[in-house]
Amino acid sequence: MPRGGWYSVGVVLLFALLPFVYGNHALLFNMMMYLVLAQGINVLFGFTGYLPFGYVGFFGAGAYGASLAILLVHLPPVPALFVGAAVSVLVALLLAPLLRLSGAYFAIASLAASEVVYYIVSNPHLVSLTQGPYGISLAQVYNSGASYATMVVVLAMALAVVVYLRNSHMGLALQAIREEPISAGFAGINVVRERIRAWLLSAALAGLAGGTYAWHVSVFYPKSVFDLNISVFAIVFTLFGGVATLVGPIMGTLLLYGLYNWIGISQPEYFQLVFGIVIVLLVLFLPNGLVSLLRRVKIHVP
């Protein structure tokens, strides 16, 4: 078993078995969704250093891709999810030139790109194709059990991707590029190709999560699947736990989404306040996340 493998199996089994003993399935489902998105952010930001503020664009593209495959082509839900992921990957391919930008420029440009996707999908002129601002209803395929099980599988895939990156040449190559792109090029790494692979991989994860989410809730509006808060949550969960590790984003998501569930749903503004304070303190005092505390006491972090 590769390093981190047993942790992943444990997390997946936990979410597969918890519904039998714990009644709040919506919480479990959303937590899995954010685990997948946080690991997707981790693949991109943790391993390559690109911070995608517009990550939710891939989530929404996956949700719409899968939904339209069900509604217009009458595919069954599971194949439709792959159509959704393919749509996300296609959007990512179109946006690949954004990778020429760096740092904050990339972050804001990707935010702008996700807004472009949102405004196109929700445009009243495209009602005949996407139902524009009126949203999607998938009532005829609604199946909360099957979609929950699918999210467990998607979660397993996301964790497998990160375990692979933690143990493979590709993961090392990406981190080398993140630290010193020019030296990495000299060492024989194809910088552009590796970056694009990470970008597409991370988009595919968001697309799968988006499609499964669409299936699970079965009624949604463009505003809710292109909500910037989805990006923000996934990014902060990842940073809080610690990037470029397997357990960092898991810890961050379980703690902060747990907190959100505790105070954020009834009083979102107080949660947002805590959230903002956490971000500021994190940058000032713990820029490498919670896992750096574990490392400080010499615990190995997969």
Partner: protein, 291 residues
């Protein structure tokens, strides 16, 4: 029709220059993107609203209060976080994330303090008679906002190019280290520039009810993105290039709203992506900083 659209574009262009000017000033001096820019604009809007609704103060007379309050906030914010950030391993990314956290805090506090309802200042505070310009008539609030914006832009010009402090500020923009080595107090100059940047945002906020729609606590992030588009179109780090960006954006927005209204929302985002990819140094292209 076309004359009206172009003149309205000019008025809005001047206003958007003011909206983005502070962001560019801060970027020029500190090389960091103030993600909380739009949130400070929102706070400025609430200050003007508060002065209007409690004491009937016309937004034009609220300007001095806005400037004093936000210069102080900016200077305090600078000394609280920036020196510490600049000494860290990756100042650009970390300050970006920190300012994002600050933007969340401001938005949350604004919701807690003011609630989620939308506020507006009636445009009739500037009189009910429309103003006519070159044979076209416009709401007085638009014209007042554009005139205030032009005045603020001129003030920034005199600050940067006609004052001792401005010379020092431009030296810091050109090179922080070299400016420090010639004896300029870099921290003082930067702190004042951050204060001036926030004050410009706040003044723009006082007129946002007439130009951007109602005041809401969550308006910040959208305004930050539009401001970023405007300064990228002009030229990053060149404050007066903002005016060109603002005019291009204002004219583009009015033309879109006249001829393709349902696609007008896309404009800032598409312009931003295109400019970043095709000409990252902006239209004025002083090559201050490539993305």
């Amino acid at each position: 029709m076309i004359a009206y659209t172009l003149l309205a574009g000019l008025l809005f262009g001047l206003y958007f220059s003011l909206v983005a000017l502070g962001l560019n000033l801060v970027f020029g001096v500190m090389r960091l993107i103030n993600l909380a820019h739009g949130d400070f604009l929102m706070l400025g809007a609430f200050l003007a609203y508060g002065l209007y609704s409690s004491a009937g103060v016309n937004p034009v007379y609220a300007i001095p209060a806005e400037i004093v309050a936000f210069v102080l906030v900016g200077v305090a914010l600078y000394y609280a976080v920036v020196p510490r950030l600049l000494s860290s391993r990756d100042p650009e990314m970390l300050s970006f994330i920190l300012l994002f956290g600050l933007s969340q805090i401001i938005e949350a506090l604004a919701v807690i303090a003011f609630g989620n309802s939308q506020r507006a200042i009636p445009a009739t505070v500037f009189g009910i008679r429309p103003v006519s310009l070159f044979g076209q008539t416009f709401p007085a609030a638009w014209v007042v906002s554009a005139v205030v914006s032009a005045a603020a832009i001129l003030a920034v010009y005199f600050y940067l190019y006609r004052s001792r402090l401005g010379h020092a500020t431009r030296a810091v923009m050109a090179s922080r280290d070299e400016a420090a080595s010639t004896g300029i107090n870099v921290h003082r100059v930067s702190a004042i520039a951050l204060g001036a940047g926030l004050a410009l945002a706040a003044v723009a906020g006082a007129f946002s009810p007439f130009m951007l729609g109602s005041i809401e606590p969550d308006m910040g992030i959208g305004i930050t993105t539009v401001s970023f588009a405007v300064i990228v179109i002009g030229s990053l780090g060149n404050p007066l290039g903002t005016v060109l960006g603002g005019l291009v954006y204002g004219l583009g927005l009015m033309l879109m709203e006249t001829y393709f209204p349902s696609w007008a929302d896309l404009l800032p985002y598409v312009l931003l992506i295109l400019i970043l990819l095709i000409r990252p140094s902006g239209l004025l292209g002083k090559r201050v900083r490539l993305a």
